[in-house]
């Protein structure tokens, strides 16, 4: 809802990223805040250590998830498809980028885009199978991807795979020399022009850059012809088809973009974590990413941000607070609960409860509530338009 007295008189205004001066203020405010804040930390070089490094590393992790969830938002929120394999595609990006940096010594400037494209192409291979038919078959295909991709990486056997290619020299050598490190792969730090990214601050800035980049890319995609086609398919695919939109092609495109975003996020995650394990990219992570999107608000520009923010808050505070509550009070009342089980059991229980409650009572997520709040604020003292 537009503030009073502001009207769009042409199409460019209607589609502008920053519509009003207030918007501009907030954009600049947050940009400056995010860029300047780390300078006040102990690694910032200004001699001040007001901002704890812990906060920066939390924000870094959050940023990685934000990129991935933004991809999911394009797929689920704007195109109505569901993917249960986002973490697997992150894993593809992670391994590709890690291999390129480790074995070829490539800078992340080249490794990350290649990782993103590889992830996207692999996504298309899986998506092709499901998107031909209507209905929620993509959930199935991506479920397959979620199991097959981590399996393929972690149980890769160079000896076995390269044997059939003996006659083709370069392929044989290629497969022979691939090393995914088995159950855990150690990943070198990211590099640009020979400079290694080692400190928390470096990692924060590189993630921040990609968060801003992918955010703008997503916004631009969604206000273009492609984005409008996606939205029309989400709202009614039969009607969209009647309008001359190639439903299959656009669905594929949405899935490709989603996988590319996953690839970018995975590549960053690999270099920032310093290792790749199966557990960091399993199906629970995929479902968590979906839950972040749904709780944040699918189909809203701010949805992923709210979702990731909410989950960071939940993991940091609510879980600990509930754990205290359980271990101090509830265990005394419900004697069948073993206090030793509480730490392991609470996160899935809380996640499931929250997701269920949101789906029943607030299916459009926090972002929708936020939009209502904004409208109410603008309309005050009136309650209706």
């Amino acid at each position: 809802m537009r503030p009073s007295g502001i009207y769009d008189v042409n199409y460019i205004q209607d589609q502008a990223l920053v519509r009003t001066r207030v918007d501009l203020f907030w954009v600049v405010f947050f940009l400056v805040l995010l860029i300047a804040m780390p300078l006040l930390s102990s690694q910032g070089g200004l001699g001040a250590s007001i901002v704890p490094l812990r906060l920066l590393s939390i924000l870094t992790t959050g940023g990685i998830y934000l990129i991935s969830v933004t991809g999911l938002n394009i797929l689920l929120g704007y195109n109505g498809q569901i993917s249960l394999g986002q973490a697997a595609f992150m894993m593809v990006g992670a391994y590709t980028s890690a291999l390129l940096v480790r074995d070829s010594g490539l800078s992340i400037v080249f490794a990350l885009p290649i990782a993103a494209i590889v992830s996207g192409v692999l996504g298309i291979l899986f998506g092709l199978s499901a998107l031909r038919v209507k209905g929620f078959y993509l959930a199935m295909a991506t479920l397959g991807a979620q199991f097959m991709i981590p399996w393929a990486f972690t149980s890769y056997d160079a000896e076995k795979i390269s044997r059939p290619f003996k006659s083709i020299g370069f392929l044989h050598d290629f497969f022979r020399n691939l090393d995914f490190g088995g159950s855990e792969m150690i990943v070198p730090n990211a590099r640009i022009l020979g400079e290694e990214f080692t400190t928390t601050l470096d990692k924060y800035y590189i993630v921040l850059f990609f968060v801003i980049f992918t955010w703008i890319a997503a916004r631009n995609l969604l206000r273009s012809r492609v984005g409008r086609a996606w939205i029309s398919i989400r709202d009614n695919d039969l009607a969209a088809e009647q309008l001359g939109i190639n439903v299959f092609q656009y669905k594929m495109m949405a899935f490709f973009v989603c996988a590319v975003y996953a690839g970018i996020a995975g590549s960053l995650k690999a270099h920032i974590d310093g290792n790749i394990t199966k557990d960091a990219y399993n199906i629970e992570v995929s479902i968590r990413l979906l839950a972040m999107l749904v709780i944040g608000g699918a189909g809203f520009a701010l949805g992923p941000t709210f979702g990731v923010g909410f989950f960071l808050f939940m993991d940091r505070y609510i879980v600990h607070w509930l754990r205290d509550l359980f271990e101090r009070r509830i265990v005394e009342v419900l004697t069948f609960i073993n206090p030793a089980n509480v730490p392991g059991a609470l996160p899935p229980l809380l996640l499931g409860m929250l997701l269920a409650l949101f789906l029943i009572y607030q299916p459009r997520g926090i972002a929708y509530r936020w939009a209502i709040l904004q409208a109410a604020w603008r309309l005050r003292p009136f309650t209706k338009v």
Binding site: L143, A145, A345, L355
Partner: protein, 426 residues
């Protein structure tokens, strides 16, 4: 014959693993049937099915392993009575149809209370209820007698599993699926994922994260006396006194064997848990198919599955039917969970839910809405899995082979072998 080799494996091995595949495929078929029925009735891909299996198995385990207190026995007998009454009352289509005298809205809480009271009074004084009371009481007494026997561990566990599963199934339907009636499919899928997380958290909170074997197919644990020398008798021999018993871990009963030495060189082995599991799974499968195809409540279920709005407009109580469907499916899931728990890996939160996800390829292969397809798909996936254990590796069988089948099915025949082709109308 015995020296035939196919891709480095002997013929015997291939036959042996195929047989195991068929046996475990029977269990997959039971799981697949549950997923198919939920998909038909509620229109949801139930991603929480594995967790329903797990929690049903845990109810069984709890009573099986720890025994039942008097209260639990009494409760289970009472539950038997309720089940019998429920069974008798739901015979005939009238049970799930809206009764004319109870339809319509009533104003005011006194009037509403009076109406509810009258409804219960008519039910409780109906001839059918009074007739149902007799077998119910008999069943309760017989059950109480049986449950008090020393060696009725399995029966006790089974009753607990059935009752617990029904309650969980209906609970899930009432509080998570019903509020979403009429919402987009996507929401429902996410909701089943949420249910999975809730059951995961709740079971871990109560039972912990350890895996729990269900020792049904094992020998009685051997007691080995621990003795210490305590003195010397008049002949100079040491006297040993038993101070306690060392209970050895139970050993699995030997596999059944079929003599095929002459033909294959070795005897085919049938592990007990798989054989019995197959038999029970197929029996449950057939029992449900009978319920679904040949009883009037099954007819109501099929009508609901076909078209909910139409079923409502001819006077079927769709919500009651859905609750019954979820209860039944949860029982089937629980049975499958128990069968799986008797195997080597036991009841494990890591194994069983992953197993249910592996059944999705079977469901898709058979067709999302086909009961026959569930059976065929389940057996095929079972065979594929066992053969890939033989030819590739165990992790490949669990994380690769079923899903390559899934992707292949999606590429070439997305409706599955027996599925109906859907036609979209504007």
């Amino acid at each position: 014959m015995s020296d035939v080799n196919i891709i480095g494996q002997s013929l015997f091995n291939i036959i042996q693993f195929t047989v195991w595949g068929i046996l475990s495929g029977g269990i997959y078929a039971l799981v697949a049937l549950g997923i198919v029925i939920i998909n038909k009735a509620s229109g949801v891909f139930n991603f929480a099915h594995g967790w329903l299996m797990f929690i049903g198995g845990l109810f069984f385990w709890q009573v099986f392993q720890n025994g039942a207190s008097d209260q639990v026995t009494a409760g289970l007998s009472l539950a038997t009575a309720f089940l019998v009454i429920g069974g008798v009352m739901s015979m005939g289509i009238g049970a799930v149809a809206v009764r004319p005298e109870t339809s319509g809205t009533t104003e005011g809480w006194q009037a509403r209370l009076e109406k509810i009271g009258r409804k219960w009074l008519t039910t409780l004084t109906s001839r059918r209820f009074l007739i149902a009371l007799i077998p119910a009481l008999v069943a309760a007494v017989v059950m109480a007698f049986l449950l008090n026997q020393e060696d009725s561990k399995i029966l006790r566990g089974a009753m607990a599993g059935i009752v617990g599963s029904i309650l969980i199934g209906m609970f899930v339907e009432r509080f998570t699926i019903r509020p979403l009636l009429g919402q987009p499919l996507l929401t429902a899928i996410l909701m089943t994922l949420a249910i999975g997380f809730i059951i995961q958290g709740a079971t871990q909170l109560i039972w912990g994260a350890d895996e729990r074997p269900i020792p049904v197919f094992v020998e009685e644990s051997e007691k080995k006396p621990i003795s210490v020398p305590t003195g010397i008798d008049e002949n100079g021999n040491t006297i040993y006194t038993v101070i306690g018993y060392d209970i050895l871990p139970p050993r699995a009963l030997p596999d059944y064997q079929v003599d095929t030495e002459s033909a294959l060189g070795e005897s085919l082995r049938f592990p007990r848990n798989l054989t019995w599991g197959f038999a029970i799974a197929i029996a449950t499968f057939l029992a449900f198919v009978w319920l679904f195809q040949y009883t009037s409540i099954g007819l109501a279920m099929r009508a609901t599955a076909e078209n909910q709005v139409l079923a409502e407009s001819v006077g079927l109580r769709v919500r009651l039917i859905l609750a019954i469907v979820w209860g039944t499916v949860a029982v089937m899931a629980g049975i499958a969970g128990v069968i799986q728990g008797t195997g080597g890996s036991g009841l494990s939160a890591l194994v069983i839910p992953a197993l249910a996800l592996r059944v999705f390829p079977a469901v898709l292969l058979g067709g999302m809405d086909s009961v026959t397809g569930a059976l065929v798909g389940g057996v095929i996936i079972g065979i594929v899995e066992q053969l890939s254990i033989l030819f590739i590796s165990t992790t490949a069988a669990q994380e690769f082979a079923p899903f390559i089948v899934l992707i292949t099915v999606l590429y070439f025949k997305p409706t599955g072998l027996f599925g109906q082709k859907r036609i979209d109308r504007v």
